[in-house]
């Protein structure tokens, strides 16, 4: 993105396009660029996913560990996000350059997953007040081509969907110690309920309208972007018991702003509403893709594409 210079006329061209809901690459204001998603790419991790959105390349691995729950939340597990901006991703990340960005992304994810309505930490409990699972979610940014937050949230949700947690039997022994018994069968594991896990949508303000997934040129025209975290809908991920539950409205779990500019209150409201529409279609697409991949996995040994493609 460095050295991208746009003339005022080009900027006006882009701005007019956004105003008429028709962008220079043919998308509408809430369309994403094509993505590639693959799960279960790292064999050592409990769950993993790799996502490529235009030039942005992200690898997410989930590790599980047994830990002691916090004293004020005895029945909840723990979730920790760690973002690593590889120096290969963009020249700006050399040295400690990517640290601030990495911090802000992990912060955003932590906030988005904070509420139990986004991700229920009680499913990570082993024995109340004594033992729980702690999930380390390591996010590796391999290549940075813009729109990182959205891509990271998609990849994290896919990786969590793919995560298997071994069954553990816990029994209280004398003296308050806990005895843990792990099954010998490595396939004896459970999947997590991640249907409501949030997706982040970045809305870039251009003129009075906002666009999702901006290209580098569009990013150049904008001084401020809004990041909205919205909960997903379980029916896209667990279609079998879809009839049991009514469709839930997606909820905001986090909102933040990024960039040196400011917005009018009305634009802010419109942007949030626009984000919901975008998040819904994104959530549906992700759910379908993940289910399809899981079904293929059951039948034959999957042909892994890895990074070769």
């Amino acid at each position: 993105m460095a050295g991208l210079l746009l003339s005022p006329t080009e900027k006006v061209f882009i701005l007019h396009g956004v105003q008429d809901d028709y962008r220079s690459d043919g998308r509408s204001n809430i369309d994403y660029r094509p993505m590639e998603l693959e799960t279960d790419v790292v064999s050592h991790a409990s769950g993993s996913a790799r996502l490529r959105l235009a030039n942005t390349d992200i690898l997410v691995g989930v590790k599980t560990e047994i830990d002691v729950p916090k004293p004020d939340k005895p029945d909840c597990g723990k979730l920790e996000f760690f973002v690593d901006c590889s120096a290969n991703a963009t020249p700006e990340f050399e040295g400690r350059g990517g640290e601030q960005l990495a911090n802000s992304i992990s912060n955003m994810m932590q906030k988005a997953y904070h509420s139990s309505q986004a991700f229920n930490l009680k499913q990570l409990c082993i024995f109340e007040g004594k033992q729980c699972w702690k999930l380390y979610i390591d996010i590796l940014i391999l290549e940075c081509g813009g729109n990182l937050c959205d891509a990271v949230s998609l990849a994290v949700k896919a990786a969590l969907f793919n995560t298997r947690i071994p069954f553990v039997k816990a029994a209280l022994m004398d003296g308050g110690n806990i005895d843990l018994q792990l099954s010998d069968d490595p396939y004896d594991s459970k999947l997590l309920d991640v249907g409501s896990a949030p997706l982040l949508v970045t809305l870039c303000k251009i003129g009075d309208k906002c666009v999702v997934d901006p290209s580098a040129e569009e990013e150049n025209c904008s001084v401020i972007s809004l990041i909205v975290g919205l909960t997903g809908d379980r029916k896209y991920y667990y279609p079998k018991d879809a009839d049991k539950q009514q469709s839930v409205e997606s909820k905001c779990t986090t909102i933040g702003m990024n960039g040196p500019g400011s917005v009018a209150p009305k634009t802010l409201k419109d942007a949030i509403n626009q984000g919901i529409v975008a998040a819904k279609s994104l959530d549906e697409a992700l759910g379908q893709a993940l289910l399809k991949e899981r079904q293929q996995n059951i039948g034959i040994k999957k042909h892994s594409y890895g990074f070769l493609k």
């Binding site: 509420s115 909820k251 905001c252 986090t254 909102i255 933040g256 702003m257 400011s262 917005v263």
Partner: protein, 311 residues
């Protein structure tokens, strides 16, 4: 965690004594009942939609003699100090930057929180607050007037009783104005907590704590929103939300926040006007003194002239 050799460290296994008191763990409902009494008044006597900006608000400038500009804001128990220093060259940067930069740092005093002792090294929350503060201030400052320079804004939270980001933004806006950094507009901020149907404007720490705790019942709204505004320009410079709430709720409370941000403006203006009046009086006094000295000197000169002429 690596040991910090630059400070004195206590034992590793020390825990706050509050963990061993009887009422350490309280259920959600118990905590909720503590917040509101039967007349739907809050613990400190406020109504739900009543902010501390009216009668529990105190602000002043020029607290820190060594700083270029400084401010102190008190929202009942929340106490925040902010200081702004002269612009200096941006460290470790080779390129020319067209716009000046703001460097913001928010720090909690080790004894500022009820629930835990704050570490000396900056933690994740402090870093997030620093970023949010910069985001809120940047649009309000005329950054093109000091290219290649950075202005340092330091905020220290002495006591945290809710709405500390809002207080920090208010204090920083005041301190920037006090340091005569050119700005487009007065910047104000307000926060509110949402628990179910109830909206707590300008929440206390206990209310915030409950608002980010997830309720047992599925689907209820909860969370905290902080918004900072430039009221004259009608622009939102920062919007932070955490928790889980539907969109109707967000848009509804935005109007409350907008109104609340506007009500703080006269408070800030009053402090700034007072500041100018004081400055003016001081200068007047200095001028009067200078004039007096000059008159005395002139008189002496006349005397000498007379002596010279005579001699």
């Amino acid at each position: 965690m690596p040991l910090d050799y630059r400070r004195f460290n206590g034992p590793d296994d020390s825990v706050s004594y509050k963990r061993f008191t009887d009422n350490y763990l309280k259920s959600y409902d118990e905590l909720y009942e503590e917040l509101i009494d039967k007349n739907s008044r809050r613990k400190d006597g406020r109504k739900l939609d009543e902010a501390r900006s009216m009668c529990m608000f105190f602000a002043r400038t020029d607290l820190i003699s060594q700083a270029k500009g400084s401010a102190y804001i008190e929202l009942k128990k929340t106490k925040v100090v902010c200081s702004v220093f002269d612009p200096r060259e941006i460290p470790h940067q080779n390129e020319f930057s067209q716009l000046g930069q703001l460097y913001c740092e928010v720090k909690f005093a080790p004894f500022s929180c009820v629930r835990q002792r704050r570490p000396h090294a900056p933690d994740a929350e402090e870093r997030a607050l620093s970023v949010a503060l910069r985001q809120a201030l940047e649009p309000a400052v005329c950054r093109h007037l000091f290219p290649n320079y950075q202005v340092d804004v330091f905020v220290y939270i002495l006591e945290h009783d809710g709405a500390c980001l809002a207080a920090a933004i208010n204090a920083a806006g005041l301190a920037l104005a006090n340091a005569s950094v050119p700005m487009y507009d007065i910047i104000t901020a307000c926060s509110l907590a949402i628990i179910g149907e109830k909206v707590f404007v300008d929440p206390t720490e206990a209310e915030e704590h409950l608002a980010i705790m997830s309720p047992d019942t599925e689907g209820t709204n909860h969370g905290i929103i902080t918004m900072s505004m430039m009221s004259e320009l009608k622009q939102v410079s920062d919007f932070m939300q955490i928790g889980s709430m539907d969109v109707q709720c967000v848009t509804k409370v935005m109007e409350i926040l907008e109104k609340e941000c506007e009500t703080i403006v006269p408070n800030i203006q009053k402090v700034l006007v007072l500041n100018v009046v004081q400055c003016f009086n001081q200068r007047k006094q200095l001028e009067a003194e200078a004039k007096e000295r000059e008159a005395a000197l002139n008189a002496k000169m006349e005397e000498w002239k007379k002596i010279l002429n005579a001699g």
